[in-house]
Symmetry: C2
Subunit: 418 residues, 2 copies
């Protein structure tokens, strides 16, 4: 049972849109024990679409196609796939009524453009996947022993159709072999040191369990993937290895399940009834945003201050004017006062503060672009550290966020072990 994903759209090849749909589909299919073997992004031209459908049909049993169904470009896609299946397009009256009703609701009295009638055209050979949340219907086609699923590229419409229309139909396509994953998340240790640390456990892994190292900004996610017939046996065996690895990683361990560091922090702080506050300069709100993006963050987070201007650092966070004048905004003294200020303001037990020069401008000889001070204040002490990152605004911000969360996690673990 092989599945693959085809994404149609020049905007992906041109890099104007990042393909997040495939990642979402990959996760979902993996959770259903359906293995994705390839993801292809192609142009929205007849030639590319029919070439990709041919290749996929030679290679896979279950083919998901997203994109190419919007009102201004669905002609090419639908005609090409109709000819691939030696079928034709027919107008679906139920879909047409639905498209019309959407325009009546949101069109502010404007008449529905003619091109939207075409959205109700579907393959004669398909089963229509009715799209309650948008105008482009999905289509399910079984053809020469393969199954093709066509979905709109708008992420929430694609997700809606997968969840409501496709998953219930997929039961017959699940693999006989079960795939099971276990995860160990570490922070603060490099990939190769970690590999050395657990080399003897890795050497013991049987052939049907693979270990992958997934490093990202200070975190290394270890994924154990097992393939077999009996899920409960597989789970027990794989979890056993994961447990041994987790114990070995010791102080570097974040979690024994597939969570981000933000999710681990929200979960542990909520459980421990500890609250976090955040004061940001160079990270500009994204650090607070990374915490509040986690469901349930309100259980441990009340207050974030984006103090881009020194006046806000002084007036809101109570950083002393003398400190700002003598040492500057990007200094140990300032970032410590920011952390302690926001901790008090937010009534929190822990606080993080960042202040740095993200770039591309604003650097000086003494403090070049990439100079970042980070402080974390906890119940017993405030720690601070200076970083020199590279010269790209986005990377500097991402690394600052990762290091800030790393420092918070380390201090929290140290305090918890007291």
């Amino acid at each position: 049972m092989k599945a693959e994903i085809i994404t149609i759209g020049d905007e992906i090849l041109l890099g104007q849109v990042v393909d997040t749909n495939s990642a979402w589909l990959g996760q979902l299919l993996d959770s259903l024990h359906i293995a994705v073997h390839q993801i292809s992004s192609i142009s929205d031209s007849r030639e590319a679409i029919s070439h990709a459908l041919n290749e996929a049909a030679n290679r896979s049993d279950l083919i998901f196609v997203t994109g190419g169904l919007g009102p201004t470009k669905d002609d090419v896609t639908k005609e090409t796939i109709a000819s691939f299946f030696q079928s034709k397009l027919i107008r679906d009256e139920r879909v047409l009524e639905h498209v019309k009703s959407i325009f009546e609701k949101y069109g502010n009295g404007r008449v529905m453009p003619d091109m939207n009638y075409g959205q109700a055209d579907v393959l004669a050979c398909c089963e229509v996947l009715f799209n309650d949340v948008g105008t482009a219907p999905g289509m399910w086609v079984e053809y020469q022993g393969r199954c093709f699923v066509f979905l709109p590229g708008v992420p929430f419409e694609m997700k809606f159709l997968m969840e409501k229309r496709v998953i219930p139909r997929l039961s017959g396509y699940r693999a006989e072999m079960v795939i099971y994953h276990a995860h160990v998340i570490t922070m603060g240790i490099g990939e190769s040191y970690l590999a050395e640390l657990i080399a003897d456990i890795e050497a013991e892994l049987p052939n049907h369990i693979r270990l992958a190292y997934l490093p990202k900004l200070g975190t290394v996610r270890l994924r154990l993937s097992a393939v077999g017939k009996d899920e409960s046996v597989l789970k027990k065996e794989t979890d056993g290895f994961a447990r041994r690895i987790a114990i070995r990683t010791g102080e570097y361990l974040v979690a024994e399940k597939d969570v981000t560091i933000e999710e681990a922090i929200v979960e542990r702080f909520t459980e421990d009834h500890i609250r976090l506050a955040i004061a940001e300069s160079c990270t500009g709100g994204l650090l607070a945003g990374s915490i509040t993006a986690v469901p349930g963050a309100s259980g441990m987070f009340d207050c974030g201050i984006v103090a881009y201007h020194n006046r806000i650092k002084h007036e809101v966070l109570s950083v002393e004017e003398a400190v700002l004048i003598e040492f500057g905004a990007v200094s140990e003294q300032t970032v410590i006062q920011m952390a302690e200020g926001v901790k008090l303001l937010g009534g929190a037990t822990y606080a993080i503060a960042t202040s740095g020069i993200a770039g591309p401008t604003g650097g000086t000889v003494d403090k070049p672009v990439g100079t970042v001070w980070i402080a974390v204040s906890g119940p017993y002490e405030t720690v601070s550290q200076l970083f020199h990152f590279r010269n790209d605004r986005q990377v500097n911000i991402e690394r600052s966020m990762a290091q800030a969360l790393n420092m918070l996690w380390k201090l929290y673990k140290k305090d918890s072990s007291k």
Copy 2:
């Protein structure tokens, strides 16, 4: 001249990592007039790698391969590609010295793990792309009239190698035909209404100019892509059509170049010496983060407050306690006071405030998940609007951000035309 991109790594197929490298490469190659025809993500297995290299070699002239070069998994990749090129692996002493020096610098006195020696192994048939910023070198291979470029998957290492090592070598591979893009960015009008509005201009487009509609969260980006031999002729012709479309879109026009709404806001506010402040509840810092992620944001932004808890709304933003008690945090009255409060606090001319229930928990019968109030306060008035989004935290947050920026842009354009 056809290019394509192959991304190696199970983590992408499993959806555990979103492939942002390909989007970055696609943009870069497009700017160099090199057309990317396909992006493929494959498993890090021998079979998948050699199959993908074969297919790509049959189809394209220039093949970029990213990933699969980390210390814990480069064996499979490098051995497979060596056998594909009928070559072998040799140890590069200069690379080895460099890998060692990195471990001396960052290893905290620990000995370099043995596996890192393997990172200095390169194809005998390649030109080494020396990686100053990491341990995995890139490789450039010319083989049977095709050019293959192997790069590490870590984004900033990949970017470094492309910019410093690969681009200078690509001059011989640029297309004879020139590709030129022009963009018109609109906001607040749906894709099909927009298509109707400009249908007569679109009908006039010659065959060598294609128009694409790229809708995303209230914005529609129109991209005119032209192919021809003379760039200056092409530019004049395409820009002429773009200008006519831009004029036609009138009140919905954001910009006549490829910018995000955030970039347009930062540019226009900075030019007009206008400052923005942001108060956030449900968007949790991400709205401020989307503005401060734009280089130069400090030219128009001083202050953002993430007021998750009512106490912060009252104490920092001066929302009246009586209002919070009578109408609740998610209410028109509260969000207006948040906007006006942060405008005053930040000394800004414009302010945005968001307050809503992002989910998955926190909804009530009166205010279900997805209920969001947004206010924008300007120099003449404060406007507010109630939204009912869908039941997914991430989508609710993204739509709140898009609507907030849309409301800000509308009010700013209205005020500017006075």
